[in-house]
């Protein structure tokens, strides 16, 4: 009872007095970015424990040669679930949580641009996580590794439901991540405080902003590949099945086109944390702000370009390998720029090794090691030797744990005082730090050697070869050091929440706006803001006699603030390009040489042309409707809107008729590759049209009920963008599916 009251009291002090009566509901129904951030992080922590236990089971199995603790299948489940969970349910949610909490505060905003969308994003995480873990009860989890290579992940080789749960769960999480990415971009564009121009964004916010672009560009590629896999598995499609004419390699291309940026999607927030923490505890502004900011853009760009270096061992041929060796090595330049800038920031500074700083410096060093082994993987001949060995395992754990987890721990020690109003314990923090660092290096440094000695990854046990046994033993002991460090960390988190000493507004004497409000911040974040002339407004405020140089704020970009709804839809449209791009490329690839059976000949080009004209005409009618709104002619606006809905409806009915006649003549998704690609591409377009129609109906309903005054109905413009986009996609789909075969 006593414990329960104190939990209530602690959780309650983050709430307003009115909410304390029903604090559970206040947390469940929240749309406040700070609570959503905390929910993200707590969800991530729960899954961190689960995936951590899986890691310990893996290490226990590998502790001695010829071990029989885990059966081979169980071992496969463990490493698949460990990888998937750690990436999609730990790293991403925790980082999204930190960004969610800090970004609006740092740019002086009251909340994210779309608070309800934000709540959707956070609740999709436990939903996706539960779906993934439900596979344990439904015949066994996936056993295909986190990248689920086809054809292994196809029905003939993984006939149980595990892969289906895996794919659906990742689809759910992917949709949540895209929604969060859209929200971050629109928040930075539209919610900045006066004076906070784009050039004055602190590095953390700038990198979150850039990273969000990577999220909306890369995640849809995964979503597209997942729906293709699901169509193969559930509807008998043929995308990735070689004996049905499909290409198993295509899965790898699409997966890594997402998978390589994904590494940076979790690494750039870690860079962002380092760029924030290292200057504060060096008591110097970051060295070369512009270089760090610009190198982030370069990383975003290059990371989308180099995925094929994950596939050197596939046998793409020397030509392709050669180009991707060169491009991959280039990424070392912008990341190297960052490392040098962080190091140069520390040089000559008054460095204070508090726990957050210790974690961040360790992250920097581990990232240096992980980065160097990364370059060694970019060199194809070396990659052939080490790809499937523990050398690779050691490399990417240096990035995922050494850089990202350490940066996350640093961030939590750094911002916990802001989130809770209490300091975490420095003594426990140092214990946690040393246990983690020593444990990490014990576990993974030796794995470089194991890998070079030839130990393959993803095998459930190994023979007693010279040296392997003791090295694996060291590795397992290290893992338990890390487990101990994690327990100390969680213990510190819980006890500090109850008994930590009061933090005050700005315990670290930091310079960005999140420290200009109380800890924890009030519901609306700020009562008043200091003037913003540079990237360190609190420094300027505290040192009026020697402020930072003013960052100029001229030009249209610095003060670019688009309308929120339109910016949201535009960002969403950008994210859709990747999704449709993959489906269109798959269609082109599989139909480049005409299939053996009748393909497009079965389509009714004449009728579809008529229905397409209706769809294209609806772009015109919705434009007229917007003109009606602008000229305050509401009758006209509603009439043209209804016309748009009717035209869109005719198109959908037309598509339905086409599907029906195909179905009547025995053409289903699984018939051949033409049918698979045709139904997937046009089906997803039809789905988008249907959603567009729903949105138009909602807008019409709003217009009928509320009679918008002064032409103010931003939703119409926003839905209009979406509707034009759907039409433009159909221009491409129609040309490729219906017209291309005519001229070929």
């Amino acid at each position: 009872m006593n414990g329960n009251t104190s939990i209530t009291a602690t959780v309650a002090h983050l709430l307003t007095p009115a909410e304390r009566q029903h604090w559970k509901l206040a947390w469940l129904s929240t749309v406040d970015h700070k609570r959503i951030g905390i929910l993200y992080m707590l969800t991530g922590l729960v899954f961190f424990v689960i995936a951590g236990i899986e890691a310990l089971l893996i290490r226990l199995q590998l502790m001695v040669p010829n071990n029989t603790l885990l059966a081979p299948d169980t071992y496969n489940w463990m490493f698949t679930m460990h990888g998937t969970t750690m990436i999609f349910l730990v790293a991403m949610p925790v980082l999204f949580g930190i960004m969610n909490y800090i970004l609006p505060l740092q740019i002086g905003a009251r909340d994210m641009a779309f608070p309800r969308l934000n709540a959707l994003g956070v609740w999709l995480v436990p939903f996706g996580g539960i779906l993934l873990h439900f596979s344990f009860l439904a015949g066994g989890p996936p056993a295909v590794g986190w990248f689920a290579y086809t054809p292994l992940s196809e029905t003939p080789y993984s006939s149980q439901l595990g892969v289906d749960y895996w794919a659906i769960s990742l689809l759910v999480l992917g949709i949540g991540s895209v929604s969060a990415g859209i929200n971050f971009i629109v928040t930075v564009l539209t919610q900045r405080a006066p004076g906070m121009t784009l050039r004055r964004l602190p590095l953390f916010s700038w990198m979150v902003f850039m990273n969000a672009f990577l999220v909306i560009l890369a995640l849809p590629l995964l979503n597209a590949s997942l729906v293709m896999l699901l169509i193969d598995r559930l509807l008998g499609g043929r995308f990735f099945l070689p004996f049905g004419g499909g290409s198993a390699i295509m899965w790898q291309h699409i997966f890594w086109a997402f998978g390589h940026p994904e590494v940076y999607i979790v690494a750039i927030p870690a860079f962002a944390i380092l760029s924030e923490v290292i200057p504060v505890f060096s008591r110097k502004p970051i060295f070369g702000h512009e270089f760090v900011a610009a190198s982030t853009v370069v990383i975003v760009f290059l990371s989308l370009l180099v995925w094929a270096h994950h596939m050197f061992t596939v046998g793409l041929g020397h030509t392709i390998d050669l180009f991707f060796v060169a491009a991959s090595v280039l990424i070392a330049v912008p990341t190297g720029v960052k490392l040098f800038n962080w190091s140069a920031t520390m040089v000559g500074g008054r460095v204070r090794f508090t726990t957050p700083m210790l974690f961040c410096v360790a992250a920097l060093l581990q990232f240096l090691i992980g980065g160097l082994t990364g370059i060694s993987h970019a060199v194809a001949p070396l990659d052939w030797q080490t790809k499937n060995s523990y050398y690779l395992v050691a490399h990417f754990h240096n990035i995922f744990v050494g850089l990202i987890v350490f940066a996350i721990l640093g961030a939590i020690y750094y911002w916990f005082p802001k989130m809770s109003g209490r300091m975490m314990s420095e003594r426990l923090g140092k214990w946690s730090f040393w246990l983690m660092t020593i444990g990490f290096n014990l576990t993974f440094m030796i794995q470089h050697v194991l890998g070079l000695a030839g130990m393959p990854r993803r095998t459930f046990t190994y023979p007693d070869l010279p040296g392997w046994a003791w090295m694996n033993m060291v590795s397992t002991i290290g893992a338990f050091f890390m487990a101990a460090g994690s327990i100390v960390f969680v213990w510190d988190l819980v006890t500090s929440l109850f008994r930590g000493k009061a933090a005050g507004d700005n315990p670290w004497n930091a310079w960005t706006l999140e420290w200009a409000t109380t800890s924890p911040p009030p519901h609306e974040n700020f009562d008043a803001l200091p003037p913003i002339h540079s990237r360190r407004p609190l420094w300027d405020y505290a040192n009026p006699d020697r402020p930072d140089p003013v960052v100029p704020a001229g030009g249209a970009i610095d003060n670019f603030r688009p309308e929120k709804n339109k910016a949201g839809v535009m960002t969403f449209i950008i994210s859709e390009l990747g999704f449709f791009g993959v489906l269109i490329l798959a269609y082109l690839f599989y139909n480049a040489t005409p299939q053996s059976g009748p393909g497009w000949q079965r389509l009714d080009i004449f009728k579809t042309t008529i229905f397409s004209v209706c769809l294209f005409a609806s772009s015109f009618t919705i434009w007229r409707s917007e003109v009606g709104l602008r000229t305050n002619n509401l009758g006209k606006m509603k009439a043209w809107l209804i016309a748009t809905i009717v035209l869109g409806g005719i198109f959908i009915v037309g598509q339905g008729l086409e599907y029906w006649s195909l179905y009547q003549s025995g053409v289903s998704v699984g018939l051949d590759l033409f049918a698979t690609t045709f139904f997937t591409l046009t089906g997803f377009h039809g789905l988008h049209v249907s959603f567009g129609l729903l949105a138009l109906l909602v807008v019409l309903g709003v217009a009928l009920v509320s009679n918008p005054k002064n032409g103010h109905l931003p939703a119409l413009g926003a839905v209009g963008y979406y509707w034009h986009f759907v039409d433009v996609v159909w221009v491409f789909v129609f040309s490729i599916v219906y017209l291309w075969p005519l001229i070929r």
Partner: protein, 261 residues
């Protein structure tokens, strides 16, 4: 024939190319004062002439799709960019003309030049017909100039804003990458004329296929990859320049002291 013999012997005379270059140089000297910017013009003309007379052209004329692609990139992206950079900063490039000033048109020009000339009939015709080939070269330089004008117009006010320019370049890179990916992985030949060289005029087929190991399949892959990877790196360089321009502009003014909360 050995590689060395090939590199020494296969230079071709291109009257039109030299006349154009000479005319351009004369016009430049006549219109503008000599400044360091003339170096850009000289570089542009050097790249232009080398593209047309060097062994690269011999390879592109029916032997290697990838050589043709390299020519294409040089003429579309490198030569026009250098030409624009050679102009003195006061020259105005028709900011009032809607057709030239519209970024959308510029983007379509730059990306369209890539897509259009790799449609199978046009790609074949550019190899088999001298006239189409000349048309292709002229159109690439012209379209490339329209594309780069948005970024490299001599007058600052005629250029796009840096953020817009980054989006412009990034989306152009994506559009060209998609074509590059299609060409690289296409199971059919994009430009069949290269797949079956009509006649081994120069007697270098054996050199290419045996000594260099470039089979028609691999040739097309190299072509696609050139468009996919190095071409994007050209756009990336321009993006970096735009970021530098954004961070540097306008120059910092004097510090303002803080006011109370």
């Amino acid at each position: 024939m050995t590689t060395q013999q090939f590199l020494i012997s296969e230079w071709t005379w291109n009257t039109a190319g030299f006349v154009f270059s000479g005319a351009a140089l004369t016009a430049y000297l006549w219109a503008f004062n000599i400044s360091r910017r003339i170096l850009y013009l000289l570089a542009a003309l050097a790249v232009f002439v080398l593209t047309l007379v060097s062994p690269l052209n011999a390879l592109a004329a029916g032997y290697l799709f990838s050589a043709h692609m390299l020519q294409h990139i040089l003429l579309l992206l490198i030569v026009p960019a250098l030409l624009l950079m050679s102009l003195p900063r006061w020259v105005s490039l028709g900011s009032r003309s809607w057709l030239i000033a519209n970024p959308f048109i510029g983007w379509i020009a730059g990306v369209g030049a890539m897509w259009l000339w790799h449609a199978r009939p046009l790609c074949n015709a550019a190899v088999s017909s001298q006239i189409v080939n000349a048309l292709q070269i002229c159109s690439l330089i012209l379209l490339g100039t329209i594309f780069w004008r948005q970024i490299l117009a001599p007058r600052e006010e005629e250029r796009m804003s840096p953020a817009g320019a980054v989006l412009y370049l990034f989306s152009a890179c994506v559009a060209c990458s998609i074509l590059g990916i299609l060409i690289t992985f296409s199971p059919v030949s994009v430009c069949p004329i290269y797949a079956q060289p009509p006649a081994d005029r120069l007697g270098i087929l054996n050199l290419i296929q045996s000594s260099w190991g470039i089979t028609p399949d691999r040739d097309q892959q190299i072509g696609g990859l050139l468009m996919w990877v190095p071409m994007c790196l050209i756009y990336l360089s321009a993006i970096i320049a735009q970021l530098a321009r954004w961070f540097a502009h306008p120059v910092a003014s004097t510090p303002v002291t803080g006011k109370p909360l």
